[in-house]
Amino acid sequence: MKSVLFLILRRIGTVLLTLFLVSMVVFSLSSLLPGDAAQQLLGQSATPEAVAALREVLGLDKPGHLRYLDWLRGLIVGDPGISLANDLPVAQLVAERLPRSLLLAGIAALVSVPLALTLGIASAMYGGTRVDRFLNTLTLTMVAIPEFLVATTLVLVFAVKLNWVSALSYAPPGASFGQFIAAYALPVLTLFFVLVAQMARMSRAAVLDQLSQPYVEMAVLKGASLPRVVLRHALPNAIGPIANAVALSLSYLLGGVIIVEVIFNYPGIASLMVDSVANRDMPLLQTCAMIFCAAYLLLVLIADICAIVSNPKLRT
């Protein structure tokens, strides 16, 4: 177990390096963007004098790399700076949105992951049978519909026609359990559609791959039953790729849900980041990127740990 611990520690070390890399990537990408916060804030009313004056107020007259270093220095001591768009502390803006994003992501993951894995593994166990074909077609169809169509259809049917749930996913503070369900049902269902197919299909593929290995054939020849072969032999070895697929899918839940946030008017962190791009609000953009990156790295780390723990050969 010592080597596992060492590996994990080393990984955490590299997380910081990657965070730094991301901030560099975001910085270079954003410096490609035409215009700056002053122009965006003034919009149609951006006369050269007004822009120059506002630049000075916002500190945009300093060169970009200096502002980046300022921001980085601030981040290290725990202060991600002030939003250029509205003078509010970035930390405050993020604190308002992040818990909501995590809540939605958490619920969606809680619903999607067990179901997806069950579907995928069942599909693999009954590979080639009617069950497999049915599940296969089901997941294929689910992935094949654009998510905004799924979301809009759900709203039309359940909110507008039937009036069972809210068209907006907004549960006021102190909402009852019923209100909570009504607010979250549709976005979670939409995300479920988007996520399940990827995870189910990748786990099916991973298990099937293991089933094609010679050691499985040995086990079968020895007379082990199919579920036993899958659960005892194939699955542990497939955990690596499965955990990977799950991690990738879940990382989508924070940054990729922009369409769900738009359609259900859910004030999450993805729309905060899109706004920050539109406003050329660099401190906010960078901070959001850091959050996505940290979340993603955490998921990947967990996936890797799963893989390492499940496959002793990787520990060397």
Partner: protein, 524 residues
């Protein structure tokens, strides 16, 4: 046209004072301010109470409580909820007295405002002349980054004559000054305010909660200076950027009022039985900009060819389901009192377009045309224009740009692009902002001899008939020579729950010119 407008023409200063004072008195005491729009007649008697949720179209983390910085419909709406102005609009965009009980000017250059007494800000601080002076002059401070800095540049000075009287001197005569003061940017804030986080206004509602890009909640100001108003207990203002989602939220009962409804959704809303739409005919337009300082827009025949290529009827019918008024390549909408009604609307005429294209000799090479969802309808208009152009052998290449960054990077930056102009409360503002040669938004870099002087002369002309003639001349000049094509004036369409009553129209925008909050009541 009506009383409050005529008072600026040909009256002595004393008469003027009296006239406005009388209107002000009636409005202030009786609460019977002449109500905007026409939809109000059949409504029930206003009653107090109720809470509604309103969804605007746009909001972002750049949302602001500072009226000088308002940029989006949600901002204007929020500002009119918590602040009051010196004047406010009626349904025909005439200025009515508000915090200014009466207004007077002899020469349209020096204006004296007599402030209403007994008005208090939400904090309890009484309104004084110093607040008004501060509110007007802060727009001239570059660090404020006011959206109306260029308009405020015409204010030469402002000073308090007495604690309830303010004198403002303009750089030149401007009949429309009281109109300008009714816009949301000029709403009044307490002297010295730099932190707007509590929204320290004296408007009909008090701020309860504000989260940029998420929501604004306001509660009734019991101490509002119009007795009996406002009617609602609480309003929650949110934004739903997706039109379909906005309409769905209205139909599912999650919100009670939405703006920016697509004309294609009207059928659905009307069929619902629970909701209805309010159309506001306005001066809102998206226009083709042909830069006259660049090839090919510098060729007058090319410009005319493109103007003839616009299939205005099809744009109105196919893109806007018939909601809108045909434009005539000048910025004055047909329902305006100064509209040049004798000037026939330019027809969709491929032969003439082909003739002018041939005469221009600019060739058929692909000309890039920039459009964006940021300029309403421009992407589809560009596609239609491309199709018409194709028929006369002219090759236009549509470049759809994302809304993000369109105004700073593409608008007016290319030989051919689309712009979008929100209604302005007066023709003078419209012309001096977008058409005079020195305007920073002179979209097509247009210079026409005599036009600038005409605009300045009309600004100071108190006689309405002479003013009208000047504006008609200006329209003809723009129609004939300017490098902008204006095919259609759009309507603002709001959708509302039928239990929400008192909705009317003020053609500066949807949601009663964004000031619905003080007019509507809940009958549920």
């Amino acid at each position: 046209m009506n009383d409050s407008n005529r008072i600026y023409g040909g009256m002595s200063r004393r008469e003027l004072l009296a006239a406005i004072g009388a209107v002000g008195l009636g409005a202030g005491l009786g609460g019977a301010l002449s109500l905007p729009g026409s939809a109000l007649a059949a409504s029930s008697i206003p009653r107090q109470g109720g809470r509604i949720r309103v969804a605007c179209m746009s909001s972002s983390t750049a949302d602001t409580l500072d009226p000088a910085k308002g940029a989006l419909s949600t901002d204007y709406t929020r500002h009119y909820m918590v602040y009051s102005g010196l004047t406010q609009f009626d349904g025909d965009l005439n200025p009515l007295p508000a915090l200014a009980e009466s207004i007077a000017s002899d020469d349209m250059t020096v204006w004296v405002f007599n402030l209403r007494r007994g008005v208090e800000f939400h904090s309890g601080k009484p309104l004084t002349a110093a607040d008004v002076v501060y509110s007007l002059l802060r727009h001239k401070d570059k660090t404020v980054a006011s959206k109306v800095a260029s308009i405020a540049a015409n204010i030469r000075s402002a000073r308090a004559l007495t604690p309830h009287q303010v004198e403002v001197e303009l750089a030149g005569p401007n009949v429309d000054f009281p109109v300008i003061l009714a816009t949301s940017h000029f709403l009044i804030v307490p002297e010295g305010t730099t932190d707007f986080s509590t929204a320290p206004g004296c408007g009909p509602y008090k701020l309860k909660e504000f989260v940029p890009g998420v929501r604004t909640i306001v509660t009734r100001n019991q101490n509002y200076w119009k007795p009996g108003r406002p009617y609602l207990d609480e309003i929650e203002l949110i934004a739903i950027s997706d039109e379909m989602a906005r309409v769905n939220a209205l139909l599912s009962g999650d919100v009670q009022l939405v703006n920016a409804v697509d004309p294609r959704s009207i059928r659905r809303i009307s069929a619902s039985g629970t909701a209805a739409v309010q159309e506001t005919s306005s001066g809102l337009y998206s226009n083709l900009i042909m830069r006259q300082d660049q090839f090919p827009g510098n060729n007058p025949d090319f410009v005319l060819a493109l103007k003839y290529l616009f299939d205005r009827e099809t744009i109105k019918r196919a893109l806007f389901r018939g909601k809108g008024m045909l434009g005539n390549d000048h910025p004055v909408p047909p329902n305006h009192k100064f509209y040049a009604s004798d000037l026939p609307v330019r027809a969709h005429d491929l032969d003439r377009a082909a003739y002018h294209l041939r005469r221009s000799g600019v060739g058929k090479a692909p000309f890039p045309l920039f459009a964006s969802p940021a300029a309403t309808g421009s992407v589809d208009m560009a596609a239609l224009l491309q199709l018409s152009a194709h028929k006369i052998g002219l090759n236009l290449r549509v470049n759809r740009m994302p809304s993000d960054g369109y105004w700073s990077n593409h608008w007016m930056k290319h030989p051919l692009s689309f712009g979008n102009v929100n209604p302005r409360p007066s023709i003078d503002l419209l012309l001096s902002t977008f058409f005079v040669s020195t305007a920073s938004w002179n979209e097509s870099a247009w210079h026409h001899p005599g036009f600038d002087q005409l605009v300045i002369a009309a600004r100071g002309e108190a006689d309405e008939a002479r003013r009208r003639q000047m504006y008609v001349d200006a329209q003809v000049m723009i129609h004939e020579h300017c490098g902008v094509g204006i095919p259609l004036f759009f309507s603002f369409i709001d959708g509302f729950d039928k239990r929400l009553q008192g909705m009317g129209t003020i053609p500066t925008g949807g949601l009663m010119g964004y000031s619905f909050a003080e007019y509507v009541w809940w009958n549920g």
